[in-house]
Symmetry: C2
Subunit: 361 residues, 2 copies
Amino acid sequence: MKIGILGAGQLGRMLVLAGTPLGFRFKLYDPTALAPGGQVAPLQVGAFDDLVAVGAFAHDTDVVTVDWENVPVSAARTVAGLTRMHPSPRALAAAQDRLSEKKMFARLGIPVAPYAPVADFDDLEQAAIAVGMPGILKTRRLGYDGKGQCVIRNRAGLADAWRTLGDQPLIYERLLRFTREVSLVAARSRNGDTAMYPLAQNTHLDGLLAITRAPFEDRSLQRQAEAHMANLLRHLSYVGVLCMELFVVDGKLVANEIAPRVHNSGHWTIEGADTSQFENHLRAIAGLPLGSANARGHAVMVNLIGSMPRRRDVLALNGVHLHDYGKEARPGRKLGHLTYVARTPRERDRVARSLLKLAGR
Amino acid sequence: MKIGILGAGQLGRMLVLAGTPLGFRFKLYDPTALAPGGQVAPLQVGAFDDLVAVGAFAHDTDVVTVDWENVPVSAARTVAGLTRMHPSPRALAAAQDRLSEKKMFARLGIPVAPYAPVADFDDLEQAAIAVGMPGILKTRRLGYDGKGQCVIRNRAGLADAWRTLGDQPLIYERLLRFTREVSLVAARSRNGDTAMYPLAQNTHLDGLLAITRAPFEDRSLQRQAEAHMANLLRHLSYVGVLCMELFVVDGKLVANEIAPRVHNSGHWTIEGADTSQFENHLRAIAGLPLGSANARGHAVMVNLIGSMPRRRDVLALNGVHLHDYGKEARPGRKLGHLTYVARTPRERDRVARSLLKLAGR
């Protein structure tokens, strides 16, 4: 079976590494010749909006997937006309616009922070009153890793935020006082079976995921999250892995956003779960049975951002797994991650401190 | 760091899969354009005895290793003159001739079955008397997976064996009545540190490894094996992973042969040990600290030979890991393997029966 991946970043690369032992063949498509996935599978270089090239890429595949949620819906539609495409263009479209995403959540009974669409400065002023302050002004499209966002704490902040982000479709959301950020990674197969990983607890620094601990053991929240996820996956007739990021507010879950792909907060599953998110995504899109999503212990995953620690220092730590994405160092760039699977939460938290130090945090 | 591998079979492929997350870049050299390693790293096609091509392959690498123990020593010497080469030409030479291998064992005090070199039919008749019958006549070079071997049970068998194998350097060995076949996989780093995996118990069918169970828990045999291994690694100033196959005869170990490379009986370490044999081989040859060789549970590894089970049937079994080498099916060919890591030896043996059935055994 030949699998095409639109996007050859670290997610595409880890999909190839997970799928090769299953006997899948891969080809990748990316605008960048040096994309890290190109080290492990043939890479076709092209723009995502070059629909002729995307079509040529897709025509000899059995299924195509993405390693980036912002692949243009037009490209996904082109692929879907030629071969199997997971996630579907509809699922991609739903996740690419924060407004349609929020509306979908609301329709499915999934709690979200109060919000209002913003088209001009008047909208913004009214939104701040209706929704309340503090809040966050976000671009509706193409935001990621904290980019395209401004926190607004008072009336003076409205004009500043507008100067930074104005003149594009925006959304204003109430800034929630949350006690935790968590995420649920789940896979749904073609026949509707699902595999839900344990909730992971995430900590962001400077808008980037810094550290994930999993499982986040809270039965009630796990049940809530799984119910929301089941609704969403069914609504989208989703096939593959999807991640939902949520806030814990007063003991309840509030959905923040979804990513219709494997997710950074699921990297711990490579060593920390019976089946990794990468393998389960591939099993799902290939029409194969899903694997167990059970945790094997208490995992911590620390992102390596901007610069890499010395390989020797990482490997000297017993049980620590290095994932180097093979990318050139650049400030603020995700270059790799470290994982450790402990027997107890206490041991995990102890090792987490060493890993954060190694990561220069 | 750029690593070259002479040989791009399944072992080279699994080395690439293990080393990519560590940030290593790979290139492979193999006589066959369809070698399975070529699916995950650039492959240079050439003959192993084309020393000009081998030299060109080696010149821009930081270190070169092998996925086949019979890479000509001349090729290894050519590489060693241009870059770092592990295993050394000397270690390869020692393992390529069964006679020099046996002499080395004897010199190091490692027990071996009684044997005698055989150059002509007279030698064979005398060896059968001196060493005893039943015995095995083997080619001194290039035998593997039961090929190049004849069991001789009585005087009549001598002539048959000679007709099959005669007119090349041979060795006659006493056929031992062993209770178990075991193997020890170990890694030695550049600075002399070693990591020894638990003994694995192996079962061969038709000369091919069929099933490995690990750890084979016997403290006394583990100690014996590690002492022999430590001697051998030191003697060869070995760097990388090496496997020693042994028989258990009357509660003692008798060495059969070594392979100066990662080994089929170590495949269980991918899921069943803290650090896989593939990762530890790469750590060793790259001059990095070795990882823990501790077992994580009770693993069983079953080879898939000649034909592959349906992927769907394999993946429907919870916790079973499929390793498809991406090779064309052919009778007697190793096409992949299955691994399962159980909590108890009893559970392992139960699952082993299902895996053998899947493998068509």
